[in-house]
Symmetry: C2
Subunit: 901 residues, 2 copies
């Protein structure tokens, strides 16, 4: 028969620390501490499976579970020689939630259960501490009334404050036992009014109701949201811990406190925490009384202090991790109430992992697993100084981490102008490629639309710049140059701050601090990661500055250089536009030749500029491979917007204006109309451009190889990898490859030197993944473009998806935003299939990923499983990817051991 | 050693009729006729493999092939006791192309090869027919000069006409031998001027040059285009037939003609053809002299006539098909020059197949394979009367077959107004859903943009209405209401005609004729098809009229009813728009409830209308399943266009107008902006709508089930199948299914009756196909939406793809437009995978296809292979699908026999 209840106490427990699945984190910790002989108040844990059965049973406690915990209660009563509801020797218990994964403060807790009027009186009489007795009763009724009976806290507080006011008191402690009795009476009549029933006096009924209430709290809104944010499954359920109460508020020799074995903010190895004498746990947290630093305890109760230090040191060694513990001293005697692995900041995580490894507490491999890759973000970007208060105006998506403080501007041009003298934050409804010059000078970007992989998000992450995207509360009025959040209006030039790590939009100038990513511990951890990972890590970088940053962060090459960003520069755009104006259809061969000539003339102007770009990249990455993608975006992105032209023309016509400007605009509109597409994402872009206009690919190939040859002559080793985008059929790649190879041999002949290079393709369409075997006959490498692959696999545009993704994630249709975390079931299936079939047709095929997922730890794990050679991500995510890759390798080699064992 | 040359003559041939791969169609026919003892001038065939080697060898004749055909030539000379170039007994030959598949007139032919000045003189002397001799020489030089030496025909004709003019002649036959000699001299000096060399006098040199020229003509533009249109592979190459000349122009007892064993236009069993005495083949075709009906031959040469009838009857029996033959009578003696299966019209193909089966010449199964499914089109739509001349203005894509004659209109509203009294043709740059009312009244649609599956093409095919789409030469100026094709300007109200079967746009009123699709032969063929097919055939129909048509054409159910078309009706659109105006985001729960209430109020108005729609469909399809898709398109399609609103507002503002209209427009624009998407195809549509706004699905489900229950009460059997579109994850389907099931049981309870129904899903995203096993746990049926599946698999929008597809097909990147012919490699792979994994998880899963491919014979074959249960297509394509399904089954059962044999 399955067991649902596990007791602990008297030096031994039925469960142990490994049983987090069954007992939850808290229950497992209590069992483990009990078994270790630590002073833990005894009790029992109702397993998480009980919670699941409770819900399955239509939110009713199954009879067999109820009878099982009754037995445990009997045992507890016997152990302590106390009895629930017996005024002579009353047993009081706490009832607490405790899920497998820590969800601090999200679910409910009830203390002092077992008290009632009679027992309170008996306590008062026996302890000579009537204030404590009635206050315990008062607290219990309030907590039970709120948690179990669903009566708002405020209504209790109103009664409490009313009594204080009536008596003219300021502090709670001024209240006399009689006052507390009055309050209790008020509470009870409130309960009667709200529930139509008397407050339950039978402690066994109280217990049953409390246990069910704690189960139910698994589905309260706070908890559900927390799980969604932390990707914790709804199916787990919570355990319930019923534990004998100990009291820190029994007078001057009692107290309670919390602490960490190391500083969770900095990672320093110091005994860290705080306590209050004559208090219960909530008093430490509530801020009514100021707690005292834990070192003070030594002066008050040296024995308890030493015992606490000894116990927590043992616990840290035992769990091989920083412990976050709670303790109570009841009349001089120390009790441990909880221990768990402590949450910590990124810098602390790194420091603790490395130091513990150096202390021999962990192996370097174990240390690697102790840092969440995402936590490294905090070491890589300027961050908000959390010690200072801030006023949060709104929350958007944490699109690109780090803090930014600047003056608001609403256009890219304004950003450039104002940005010369002041830090600016560019605020847009959404950004578009021709905002790039503004984004480059801004210190941060705020958008009201778009998701985690919107243009703004992707570009800023690439730049390592703070961004809050898709902030729906922010109404951006670009025309009037104002930002409205609720009733607050922010004008151009006003200061705001962004926290890209949390998505917060903050009023005024927030304080920030610079992290030190090159600290010794960080470097040590990265060294261990590099020694243990199998996946290579490259960076997506378009310009030498980013490439240098990437290299500094440990990138082993460039996995994606997007050449289109180079086309937007001010001195280049006119040539690009001239080329596009000549992208016209005609059946007349002569006319077609004329247009081609015109296009070639414009491209010739761009050639030296592109050559310079590539030279810079090769120089920055000297000796490392540089993957350059040929032109990808739809051409209309380089022209003014269609609807804006239409408006401009209509307005001129309405004003009966004529002349050169109007006809020029009309000619321009004609071209824009010709290029207009209903779904540009599915239109004339990627290699389709190079097939319609081979001279574009030709110019880019020429620039690449001329730059590479020039490098070689100067002793710089260029390793170009030419990447053809949006291939769906091997023939597309073959045609483009032919051009690249022809140009390469022309250039080598002219320059008199040769360089090694590869020609490969993006796999970013289902069609490509499904015919990867064929494509690999031409491709020397694959690079998964999982942004586009996710878009086409799901039929979901990442520019339009924000609203839908929010709803889908909150309704649990998807476990996560598929643009943030690679979908393993469908996109991942294509990735594995294409890698396998590609390698079957070309054994040495190099396979990487350059979509945004390349920097996401969960996605990196899928890549590692699929057997990819490398991932490529934003420069600032390179360390994260290095750590994630190492963790994946360590975990998988551990699995191998288990599998073969 | 491989054999490249096969001779035929003297009663036997090295090849035979089965060797079309090697000898081409013509060569195989000549061999077969020779073996059958028919009077065929002897000769030899150079195999298609020779052609391929010629190209592989860099357009040079491999030595071993040249020496092999020299041997065949020696043999031919011996057989006829003639010699190439010997004036005493000269051998004259024809050199003709002949590929595996007939490509009439696409490649080159050279007659009279072997003649030169000396031989012409000798001929003149010996035959006493100097006119014939010199005319033969003249014709040869002209043909050789044009085909082999690439000199334009016109330059020869200028010399010829010059001589006629000089002499004041009108007819060619007035030219005397001396005139012809002058012309020959002129021709030779033209050749010298153009090529820098004398015209080659050595017949062996002529022969070598002619053979190579015929090889090369495989790649001339005409031939390449023909192959692309007819899906003939470029890799096949052509054979070359070198055959002794016979002369129909040797005087009054000579003649030449062509004929068919049955009438290729009507299929009537009658000896059909025409001939000319004293003429060569080209004279029959050129139209200079009017040929005579073949029955007249009986009077002129009864023996030859009877022999010809006897031979061709034998040939028809032998080949079990209508023969298209060529013959020549030289001085009274009959020679057969060619026989091949005759091309025929659709009606003829049906009649011939059925009659041959009734005659016992074919089995019904063989008869089924004799009709190209596409040919049935000609029996189903009014067609152009090809006997009347037409003036073609331009050519577009043959988007929806049939002829249409009407007056041009440029807007849907104008179509409705003018369409009340006159037939109208709606001319648009492209059509959009809100043109639907205009499309309904128009007799035909012409668009300048969009491909074979553009909105216009899909909708018109559904309506069985003629459409020419993507006619790039047509410049549509909707503002000025004019259509410009080249210099021709067509204004509103002008007559034009469309031939949707060929894509021709014709000036003025062309003559059309009504076909008779219910003729006995058609019905017989369809009966045989139905008896032999495994695939079910349903139709895509949205309204009772189409459903009735579909049923008349043999549809076994409705595979797709698109409910969105129902939303565009004039009296409904305001309610739809009211609903959409309330599709607003808000974080405020109260406001959200208010919006939902507003949406529900608008939907309540639509409910009775939808219920009536569905009642009509169920009634029309009484007893047959009706698959109804819930709302699919993005909501903004129901609102005015964003850019038009922007322009309107800007113009009003420019004119400093204020007031209610402007603010109303601004409010509207705000909603439109809120719904604006960069890629609506990948945006908020399909089941995403039903998940964001469940009340839409709810209303539609209610309308369906209320209508079905009402039907049942009236004795009509409704079989609804509710189809959820754009599902990518099983959870989406589960959520929508829950709504449908809930509403169904509510309605059944209220109405007091129950109807059987299914809930299933479209498989139209790669994500769905890749998780089909999971989805089938919820879905009771799958229907492949291969339009969208092709779009997402290839990352290619069908609304924007015209230009790209043209280039890709012409550059042979794709064998065909993937929106017209299902791509078997990628989309087909997903289709097979999803069908397999779906059935693994639900054995009885019903699987169909409702994309445009459901009506395409090649695609139907892929569906049959994948094991689908049914295809669904436009009502007017139902017979085509029935035949294609039968052909696929017949072919596959034949394959099974071969495989097991």
């Amino acid at each position: 028969m399955e067991k649902y209840v596990y007791f602990f106490g008297g030096g031994k427990a039925e469960g142990d620390g490994a049983m987090k699945d069954v007992l939850g984190g808290k229950g497992a910790g209590l069992a483990e501490m009990t078994n270790a002989g630590l002073p833990v108040p005894p009790g029992f844990t109702i397993a998480t499976s009980g919670c699941r059965l409770y819900f399955e049973n239509g939110n009713r406690m199954p009879e067999f579970i109820a009878s099982e915990y009754q037995q445990a209660l009997d045992w507890l009563e016997k152990l302590l020689a106390q009895e629930l509801g017996d005024p002579a020797r009353p047993l009081l218990v706490s009832v607490r939630s405790g899920a497998k994964f820590s969800m601090p403060g999200m679910m409910d807790t009830i203390l002092n259960l077992g008290i009632n009027d009679k027992i309170a009186e008996a306590f008062a009489a026996r302890t000579g501490n009537p204030r404590w007795a009635y206050d315990s009763d008062r607290r219990f009724i309030q907590m039970f009334g709120n948690v179990v009976l669903d009566i708002p806290k405020e209504e209790f507080e109103r009664i409490f404050d009313g009594q204080k006011k009536k008596r003219g008191f300021k502090l709670d402690t001024e209240l006399a036992p009689e006052d507390l009795k009055q309050i209790i009476a008020g509470y009870k009549s409130l309960v009667r009014k709200k529930t139509g029933k008397d407050f339950p006096q039978d402690p066994r009924v109280q217990l049953a109701m409390a246990i069910e209430a704690v189960f139910r709290s698994w589905y309260n809104e706070r908890a559900a949201t927390y799980r969604r944010m932390n990707k914790i499954s709804d199916d787990l359920g919570t355990a319930v811990n019923v534990q004998a109460m100990v009291f820190g508020n029994m007078g001057a020799t009692s107290g309670t406190g919390v602490g960490f074995t190391r500083n969770p903010a900095t990672g320093e190895k110091e005994f860290y925490g705080e306590f209050l004498m004559n208090a219960q746990g909530e008093d430490v947290v509530s801020g009514v009384r100021t707690p005292v630093h834990i070192s003070e305890l030594e002066k008050i109760n040296r024995a308890a202090y030493n015992q606490l230090r000894e116990i927590t040191t043992r616990l840290e060694k035992h769990y091989k991790d920083v412990q976050d513990f709670e303790f109570t001293i009841q009349e001089g005697k120390l009790y441990m109430l909880q221990t768990r692995n402590g949450k910590r900041t990124g810098p602390a995580a790194v420091k603790i992992a490395v130091e513990m490894a150096k202390e021999g507490l962990l192996t370097p491999l174990e240390a690697l697993l102790r840092v969440e890759p995402e936590q490294l973000n905090q070491l890589l970007h300027p961050v908000l100084d959390e010690s200072k208060p801030v006023k949060v105006l709104a929350k958007g998506l944490p699109a690109s981490p780090g803090a930014a403080v600047g003056r608001v501007v609403f256009t890219a041009d304004d950003a450039v102008t104002r940005g010369k003298t002041q830090p600016v934050i560019l605020v847009r409804a959404e950004t578009v490629p021709d905002d790039i010059h503004g984004m480059e000078v801004a210190v941060g970007i705020l958008t009201s639309r778009g998701g985690m992989t919107s243009h703004a998000a992707v570009v800023t992450r690439g730049m390592g710049k703070s961004c809050v995207a898709g902030c729906a509360e922010a109404e951006v009025d670009e025309k009037r140059k104002q930002l409205r959040i609720g009733s607050k209006v922010i004008k151009e030039g006003d200061w705001i701050s962004l926290d890209g790590s949390t998505g917060r939009v903050i009023e005024g100038k927030a304080s920030t601090r610079e992290p030190d990513p090159t600290s010794g511990d960080f470097a040590t951890l990265m060294k261990w990661a590099d020694e243990n990972r199998e996946l290579g890590v490259r960076a997506n970088a378009d310009i030498p500055r980013d490439a240098l940053a990437a290299r500094r962060y440990g990138a082993e090459g460039i996995g994606l250089c997007r050449t289109e960003h180079m086309f937007f520069a001010k001195e280049r755009l006119p040539h690009v536009q001239r080329m596009i104006m000549a992208c016209k259809d005609t059946a007349d061969a002569k006319e077609a030749a004329k247009y081609e000539k015109e296009r070639r003339a414009a491209l010739l102007k761009l050639l030296p500029m592109q050559r310079k770009d590539f030279f810079g990249l090769f120089e920055a990455m000297d000796g490392l491979p540089v993957t350059i993608r040929t032109l990808d975006p739809p051409l209309h992105e380089f022209l003014p917007k269609r609807e804006e032209l239409m408006v401009e023309i209509a307005v001129l016509e309405a004003k009966r204006q004529k002349g050169a400007k109007l006809s020029k605009l009309k000619r321009l509109l004609e071209v824009v109309e010709g290029l207009h597409e209903f779904n540009p994402m599915l239109g004339l872009r990627g290699c389709r451009l190079g097939i319609m206009y081979p001279e574009i690919t030709e110019m880019q190939a020429r620039a690449i190889f001329e730059a590479a040859c020039d490098c070689k002559k100067k002793g710089i080793e260029a390793k170009p990898e030419v990447m053809i985008p949006l291939v769906g059929d091997v023939k597309e790649l073959a045609l483009q490859k032919e051009i690249v190879n022809r140009v390469a041999s022309e250039v080598f002949k002219k320059k008199g030197v040769e360089v090694d290079y590869l020609v490969g393709t993006m796999i970013e369409l289902p069609a490509a993944a499904l015919s990867a075997g064929e494509i690999a006959r031409e491709a020397e490498f694959f690079s998964f473009g999982t942004n586009d692959l996710t878009q086409t696999t799901f039929g979901l545009s990442r520019d339009d998806c924000g609203k839908i993704i929010n709803v889908y994630v909150s309704q649990k249709i998807w476990p996560a935003d598929p643009f943030a975390v690679l979908d393993p079931k469908r996109v991942g299936r294509l990735l594995k299939l294409a890698t396998k079939e590609g390698r079957e047709s070309r054994a040495k095929l190099k396979v990487g990923i350059c979509g945004e997922h390349g920097g996401d730890p969960a996605s990196i794990e899928v890549c590692a499983e699929a057997g990819l050679d490398y991932v490529s991500c934003s420069p600032y995510r390179v360390p994260i990817a290095r750590l994630a890759a190492a963790q994946s390798a360590v975990k998988r080699s551990a699995e191998k051991v288990y599998t073969t064992a």
